[in-house]
């Protein structure tokens, strides 16, 4: 096992890694930017190294400085957390070349899964469903109609060079498709200098369901069931839960099996997440793999009783997982609310600043993971996540009740937070009745404000 791990991240996930290491008897080297110099979790590390100024590109994203800190700090391994360098295959390669263990998948597995097209190809080869669509670009209107008929309407036209919704059109039938193809192609040409368009089935009001996987270097690959992350606003997850409500058992099991097949085909080990969308008829389609630990990993920890961080460190050290699929029996229902320093009443404007007072909720079924403490200054340089409130109860309705109780107990003074939004969301009819998909929050917000 490692004697000393460098934590190449900040905030709650840095604290999460430090906690796991302290329990395992592993020393930690925490790196930080100048903006995080006074963060209270640094006191829990065995060594603290400043790697640069506030700007992430000059500190947390600087491969040379992180590696150098690992070398002067005598760390044998680096935990990248999420974000920053966590899915950077080049960084993983540099770690390997410096004889430092990167706590995550191999660079090869990351590359195989990091590119969306090669990941989709891998998925299809492993018998994992992807959103049906054109194999390549659509070259003519006739071609578009032929393909759309074969995959079924409605369809989504997407610019191959695109992003941010430009060159994107939905078409419900042949007639609409002809015009849409023209428009999308022209828009793509104008926006990206590339008129190339491809077509895939348009999934209306999908759910975002992801499978937590965990593998070792000795051929064991298991899943820790699913998380439902449909409760999003502008593609930002707000609430995650496990199990996914209203998901048929057969679908759930098929998704888990598909995720394990794909991960095994990619030669994956470590913790990772296979993301799917699920349509209104409970068909599921592979979207991408997140080759890292995720913000919402605690909900899977609560229902399975397995510490994902410790497991991730153990398998990175070459240990056997020591678990088989049958050992992983989910119990009850877990929900996580992301507590951000944002003002929901002011269009989610970030609210950095000094936290004057904080009272963490406690009691049965409540877990609060936060790097904040009274006196902590939320820096304006990074994301606004200041804590994760996680609850675990035998049932979903019980979990909602505990979450509402805990949110009301949580007191954070000095900065505005998303706590009021969560209370409203929990009490909203769509969430309460589990009629959730990735579009419901925005529709509900629009309805609530009109």
């Amino acid at each position: 096992m490692f004697k000393r791990i460098l934590v190449a991240n900040r905030g709650e996930i840095a604290l999460r890694v430090i906690r796991a290491c302290r329990e395992m008897g592993i020393e930690t080297v925490a790196v930080h930017s100048e903006a995080d110099r006074d963060a209270p979790y640094l006191e829990l590390a065995d060594e603290v190294i400043c790697v640069g100024p506030a700007r992430a590109a000059d500190s947390y994203l600087r491969i040379d400085r992180i590696i150098s800190a690992a070398e002067v700090g005598n760390a044998q391994a680096i935990h990248p957390g999420y974000g920053f360098l966590s899915e950077n295959a080049h960084f993983a390669e540099v770690c390997r070349s410096c004889d430092i263990t990167f706590i995550g998948p191999t660079p090869e597995a990351m590359q195989r899964l990091g590119d969306k097209n090669s990941a989709r190809a891998l998925a299809r080869a492993a018998g994992v469903p992807t959103v049906p669509g054109s194999d390549g670009l659509v070259t003519s209107e006739e071609d578009a109609v032929r393909i759309a008929r074969s995959i079924g309407f409605p369809v989504l036209l997407k610019a191959t060079a695109g992003g941010g919704g430009k060159g994107m059109r939905v078409a419900a039938n042949d007639l609409a498709l002809a015009g849409a193809w023209q428009q999308a192609s022209a828009e793509a040409q104008a926006a990206f200098g590339n008129p190339g368009i491809y077509i895939e089935r348009y999934v209306e009001r999908p759910r975002h369901v992801e499978i937590q996987i965990l593998g070792d270097q000795h051929g064991t690959m298991v899943h820790l069931w699913e998380r439902d992350c449909s409760t999003q606003r502008r593609h930002q997850k707000l609430i995650e839960e496990s199990p996914s409500p209203r998901l048929p058992t057969a679908t759930r099991e098929a998704m888990c099996a598909a995720a394990v097949r794909l991960a095994a085909a990619a030669g994956y080990h470590s913790a990772g997440t296979v993301e799917f969308i699920v349509d209104q008829q409970d068909n599921f389609y592979f979207i991408e793999v997140n080759a890292r630990i995720q913000v919402e990993h605690p909900v899977s920890e609560m229902v399975t009783g397995i510490d994902l961080l410790k497991a991730q460190i153990r398998v990175a050290a070459g240990e056997r997982l020591g678990l088989v699929q049958d050992d992983i029996r989910p119990r009850g229902h877990a929900i996580e609310c992301r507590i951000n320093a944002e003002d929901p009443a002011a269009n989610f404007r970030p609210c950095p600043g000094r936290i004057e007072r904080i009272i963490a909720p406690g009691g049965f079924g409540v877990r609060f993971d936060s790097h904040a403490a009274a006196g902590y200054v939320v820096p304006p340089n990074y994301d606004s996540l200041i804590g994760k409130l996680i609850v675990h109860q035998p049932t979903r309705s019980g979990a909602i009740e505990t979450m509402a109780r805990a949110l009301r107990e949580l007191r954070i003074e000095g900065v505005r937070t998303t706590v009021p939004l969560h209370l409203d969301l929990l009490a909203s009819a769509p969430f309460h009745e589990a009629r959730i998909d990735t579009t419901f929050v925005e529709r509900w917000l629009a309805g609530a404000s009109s």
Partner: protein
């Protein structure tokens, strides 16, 4: 999931109250002690005795007495016997220091028990005391009903009744101010 609400028949006793979904109260929350301090400063400067601010679910109420002496209603030696008398509620009289004034000395008679406050012995009877009455320590000033027992509460102090602080039929808690007496009259 039913959000719990502040109850209507809240008994007094807290100076600053805030309930409900204010869990993430920012700098402007009712629990902001700095704001409370600023308010207190304001009160001192302008010699205010109470500030009560409310907005939506939030409420800040601050009271500031002049020279107030708190007297438990049955707390003075020689106070007359009530129908039933609660024992063990005999805190010492708090003598207020001089120079603290907003005029005269006022003695506050407080409840020695938890129960329901009645100003008279029955719906048609006259009130035991009214503002302006001169009273002696053994004078019954009210009845407090607790566990079906009607406890006559003696004043415990002599003077003139300045104010009656509780509505007829309202619940009172231990130590709650019942009436104000000016002992110099």
């Amino acid at each position: 999931m039913k959000p719990t609400k502040a109850s209507e028949n809240k008994t007094a006793g807290k100076t600053a109250e805030g309930k409900g979904a204010d869990a993430s109260a920012g700098t402007g929350g009712v629990f902001d002690e700095r704001r409370v301090k600023r308010l207190i400063k304001l009160m001192k400067r302008h010699d205010l005795s109470e500030i009560d601010l409310q907005q939506a679910d939030e409420r800040v109420r601050i009271r500031r007495g002049g020279a107030v002496v708190t007297v438990p209603a049955d707390g003075l030696p020689g106070a007359g016997a009530a129908t039933a008398r609660a024992a063990g509620a005999l805190p010492a009289v708090n003598a207020a220091g001089p120079g603290d004034a907003d005029g005269g000395r006022v003695v506050v008679v407080t409840s020695p028990m938890v129960g329901t406050f009645y100003r008279a012995s029955g719906p048609d009877a006259a009130s035991f005391v009214k503002v302006g009455d001169r009273i002696e320590p053994e004078k019954t000033v009210c009845i407090i009903e607790a566990m079906k027992v009607f406890n006559e509460i003696p004043a415990g102090v002599s003077g003139q009744v300045v104010a009656i602080l509780v509505e007829n039929g309202a619940p009172v808690e231990f130590g709650q101010p019942l009436l104000k007496v000016d002992p110099e009259h």
